[in-house]
Symmetry: C2
Subunit: 214 residues, 2 copies
């Protein structure tokens, strides 16, 4: 099976926002409550940041346990990597995730301000000023036959959708409205000309949206 | 996370039968139509016996792609391995699966008639006359920290349920009635004293039943 380009466990509001306004160090999702968007994932046994035993093995866990399966590299936007904008003031910021980030593969951070690579635990962050296609070629090479995850945020997912580089996409839609912020879509039906779409309601309250290429 | 004992992609009829009556070389599921029980899985991209590209990446595919994830060994009953009953007439029967069986781990076949181990491709079949607990200890050792799949058939799954050795179980319930054969349950609610149960209807017509220990 050739490698796929996958979006996994990406959470948006009922009105399509993946983050609110005013993103900052203290509020990485801006005015959005991250629990409302991603609480379904945090409650599962395979939640990527889980440090204690426990959690559910129901439907939602199939989505969190698929996060790392056959992934060989991630591409993320600079705004997912950290709250700073513009040129780096210094290089002390090394991401939100501490000494062992949950990616455990090469991660390519798209930025107009490249800086030296950082290795933390099993993850190495590389900083690239590149088009989506160029970044994907680098990530596919690093993934060595495995799939590439497009990690977000919204702007980065949109760029890869616009360049038609995404093969499969899992988006959880939460029953909250945000009104403003970073918007993935007005409606998921915008994508059904290019993608199959299956909607799967979960007991946790979110509806999983599964897209794959027609 | 300690290793789990998992049942995966096990298909039964609406009235709880995993196979019909009269199992034989030509009819491994007896009078049951295997397509009615497992057609949902065959249609997915990650169906374990898929040899051509294609298939769906919707909800059902999350279940087939989880079949091998973190599995280090399987335990199956002798009736899953082949249609012969009683002492082996000869050792020419090497399973249904050809030169590269889809397990790709050690497989422990429970039988009162042990025979020498067989290696086919990446799978080695070992034949054990053992209790479920003894077989599980052997399989856990072989799995080396990964999970153990209980592969069926019905009698074997029931034995492991009766011994309370199963941690998680995924059973697909198809909208057909069989009336007789090998019965897993009269109702899935029989298990809810010990297990959480989440029912997830799929567009393919089956309802996925997800169990995990309370």
């Amino acid at each position: 099976m050739p490698p796929l380009v996958r979006v996994q466990n990406f959470g948006v509001s009922a009105d399509g926002f993946g983050a609110g306004e005013g993103q900052s160090l203290d509020h990485p999702f801006g005015h959005a409550d991250p629990g409302a968007l991603l609480g379904w994932a945090v409650a599962t046994a395979h939640w990527v940041n889980r440090s204690e035993p426990g959690g559910s093995y129901g439907l939602d866990d199939y989505f969190t346990r698929d996060f790392a399966r056959n992934i060989g590299a991630e591409i993320m936007g600079r705004n997912k990597f950290g709250p700073q904008r513009g040129p780096w003031q210094d290089h002390s910021w090394e991401g939100w995730w501490g000494a062992e980030p949950p990616f455990r593969t090469p991660v390519f951070v798209l930025t107009h301000h490249p800086r030296p690579s950082i290795t933390l635990g099993q993850t190495t962050f590389h900083f690239l000023d590149a088009t989506p296609r160029e970044a994907l070629d680098r990530a596919l090479e690093a993934a060595d036959g495995q799939d590439v995850r497009i990690g977000g945020g919204v702007h980065t997912v949109r760029e890869f959708l616009d360049a038609d580089l995404i093969d499969t996409m899992h988006v959880s839609v939460a029953p909250v409205e945000l009104g403003s912020g970073e918007r993935l879509w007005s409606s998921p039906d915008e994508l059904t000309d290019r993608f199959h779409l299956e909607r799967v309601p979960s007991a946790s309250g979110v509806t999983h949206h599964l897209f794959w290429r027609r």
